[in-house]
Amino acid sequence: MKLTLRVWRQKNAGADGAMSTYEVDGISPDMSFLEMLDTLNEELTLEGEDPVAFDHDCREGICGACSLVINGDAHGPERTTTCQLHMRSFKDGDTIDVEPWRAAAFPVVKDLVVDRTAFDRIIQAGGYVSVPTGSAPEAHATPVPKPDADLAFEHAECIGCGACVAACPNGAAMLFTSAKINHLNVLPQGAPERETRVLDMVAQMDDEGFGGCTLAGECATVCPKGIPLTSITGMNKEWLRATAKGAGR
């Protein structure tokens, strides 16, 4: 396959960026999107140019490191992570636009790499359960009803990639935050911190400069893990419950 790539290039956080056009040839439909970018970078390196910076780690669709808005879609045209997107989703001769996640809370570090530490701070605000350390407890000591376990598991699938923020017209982190809250709040292990968790995480989300939810639903459409839009409804419910109980900081 021969492709034309238009890629966002930006030297550093302070610099102005712009789209640059590159031609790549010899792309196999079996390559992943990131392998295609590797090919481009090899050529760029040989030509003595600065390779395109992009985030990646596991390349298995489980770590949440990869990103990229491809032709206007976060993680590209398929419902998967960019690392699991294959070039067979494109046609020979296509022009592909590649841009970084766009949100005030995700500033561009370089080229296609953005700073997603705002997510880490949301997790630090309450996305955990406090447990005494020691040997692992007996798994059956805390019974979890099957529907609760399923709900927790569904939300635990969130890999923190940030595609939901990138796709949201308001740069909101509601889907990510709600996935984390619903995951822990439904479990008995998460119960002691149920109220403070939702209040603190939502407050942190607001402090980071993410936008609010207008129920546009773009987040759930692009989420590679299928976190549903109703997850946000669940977070709202938890937040209202905790606020009514007067559990604020």
Binding site: A103, P169, G209, T214, N236, T243
Partner: protein, 223 residues
């Protein structure tokens, strides 16, 4: 707690949802009341008079009406202020646009802000037109709402302004009602289709019901 609510994106959205639902409830009653115009001038005018004597003798003349007015003003102001503040925040949270643009979300979803602004302007015009009579086209007469309504819908601009506003209400409710359910945490996967259907039915009924009045005047059924 009030501070927690007002300072949080989730809380402010709750204010929008509750105030929106209060206005929606009022609009349903308002639409049904308007339809009485099809029963002729005496009955319509008598209905309008009853709105002022409502609650008597427990309440004084117009007291109940003023309670409704105050609740509505509070709802409109709370709704508009939170809409403004949340919108400002949303725009700031997404400062740079994508080079590759895609058509996104439904029309009703994308027009909430502009539709809301149209509604705010309409509310002002509507009150000046049919409540106080300041911008009324004919000789406005208090206590004669039937004739006032016929006069308004006998002008082309009266019809245009009103019809645009009613269509805006329909779209606003279509996305708004379902949104409010999510904001208040009562939506769920199993209820989603029912809520969307209910939003569509409400939007459609309000649109048709409100449009029936100018259409009645334009076709001469109401004159």
């Amino acid at each position: 707690m009030a501070r927690t609510v007002w300072n949080s994106t989730v809380g402010k959205k709750t204010v929008m949802a509750v105030s929106g639902l209060i206005m929606l409830l009022y609009l349903v009653a308002h639409m049904l009341g308007n339809l009485k115009i099809y029963f002729g001038a005496p009955e319509f005018n008598e209905y309008a008079h009853w709105l002022r004597t409502m609650g008597e003798p427990l309440l004084h003349y117009e007291w109940a009406l003023w309670v409704v007015r105050v609740v509505l003003v509070v709802a409109v102001v709370a709704h508009a202020v939170s809409a403004y503040q949340l919108s400002r925040r949303d725009i700031k949270a997404r400062p740079s646009k994508y080079v590759h643009k895609k058509a996104r979300a439904s029309y009703a979803t994308r027009t909430m802000r502009w539709g809301g602004i149209i509604l705010a302007l309409f509310i002002v015009w509507h009150i000046l037109d049919l409540t106080t009579g300041h911008v009324h086209s004919g000789g406005f007469e208090e206590g004669k709402p039937y004739q006032n309504v016929v006069d308004t819908f006998s002008t082309w601009y009266g019809n245009v302004i009103y019809i645009v506003a009613v269509l805006a209400v329909g779209l606003h409710i279509r996305h708004g009602f379902w949104s409010a359910a999510q904001t208040l945490g009562v939506g769920s996967r199993t209820r989603d289709r029912a809520l969307k259907a209910l939003a569509n039915v409400l939007a459609l009924l309000l649109t048709i019901g409100f449009l029936a009045v100018p259409v009645g005047v334009m076709t001469g059924v109401v004159s």
